[in-house]
Amino acid sequence: MVRAETFEALGCDVRVVAADGDVAVARREVGRLLDEVDRTYSRFRPDSELARINARPNETVAVSALLSRVLDASLRAAWVTEGLVDPTVGRQMRLIGYDDDFARIRGRTDAIVLRLEAVAGWRTVRFDADRQTVRVPRGVELDLGSVGKALAADLAAVTAMNAMGGGGVLVSVGGDISVAGDPPAGGWNVLIADDSRAPVDAEGETVAIHDGGIATSSTMVRRWTRGGVELHHIIDPRTGLPAAALWQTVSATAATCVDANTAATAAVVMGAGAPDWLAERRIPARLVAGDGEVVRVAGWPLPMEAVPA
């Protein structure tokens, strides 16, 4: 028996699906974890632990276990992508107008000044995982949203699974999906879409995963216009501006949702070299170009309808 519950958290839709387990228990544990995530590393809550760290530049600050975990994951993402996915884009996010919950920034139309300026970079952050301390230099603001949401999905899936005591669970946090335990027969069927709010019965390509995670990065959502300029939320750390959208949407699967998200986001930022980069790392991925052309790499399957009989 597979049951699902949906609710909102972290400014996005959350879906919890349990196979042969108590979905109410899973949903409760996921909700509790996401509350902790929100209190810890929301960029938009002035009382979050992350906001307090961003407000204390050049100080070595002790951090909680959860913030230590997400800092570690974010810096590792920067390391393995050679800085294409960089947690020091917080200031640039603010400068391009993404300084509040997305629902509130969409209504603004006044012009802003865009600066072509590389971010300070993840190497400027001094993080000690053993001592659980971090030091952020003046002028740098951390934004852990990208990796943070995926990590939340990974932690939530395992936490829910342990609380259920058996079966299997899928947790989707705004389209970043992590699964744990035993999948239902045939695997977890996931619709691939530009927008995570697309209903599961919408038209589109479907793939089945059995473990790990799947994530999609897209420049087609969280778009807004300021002063006549259209912007989106995926920053290219090399320019400090929204990434040139050669790929409008990239989906990837990996051993964890964090790695799937890291791969997908890096591919959007990387542009032309992304298919080879993903293939070299054996990360199955589906890349959709601006003209609608679809490129599949490293074992991402053709849609069932396109498979020759």
């Binding site: 570690d72 590792r76 390391w79 995982a129 989707s172 977890w188 793939v207 990996a254």
Partner: protein
């Protein structure tokens, strides 16, 4: 010191043999010294990992805790290591017509 202007054949052969032994001996001694110095350096300075260039004072590959903040065991295989971790198995295609069996949507947010 006064020496004869010309060496005999046997004297020349001995001189070349002596020169070769000095040359080879010097090379062997230099290699041994370099190795010994390298060993000493390794023993006295553990060095830094690539991640340390970043300011991550504990190597990223080893830094991920083994338990979640809530105390639950977590799978860390994909959140550690120096490269992205591929899934155990690639995704498989599912007929788009079986919409009722879909469990979630992966998309941008």
């Amino acid at each position: 010191m006064k020496t004869s202007a010309r060496l005999t054949g046997s004297q020349r052969d001995r001189a070349f043999a002596r020169l070769r032994s000095i040359t080879v001996g010097t090379a062997v001694a230099s290699t041994a010294a370099a190795g010994a110095f390298g060993f000493l350096a390794v023993q006295t300075n553990p060095g830094t990992q690539a991640a340390n260039d970043s300011g991550v004072t504990t190597a990223a590959a080893a830094a991920a805790p083994t338990t979640s903040p809530t105390g639950a065991d977590t799978t860390t295989s994909g959140t550690t290591g120096s490269t992205l971790a591929a899934p155990t198995a690639a995704p498989t295609s599912t007929p788009a017509t079986t919409t009722t069996r879909r469990h979630a949507t992966s998309g941008g947010s």
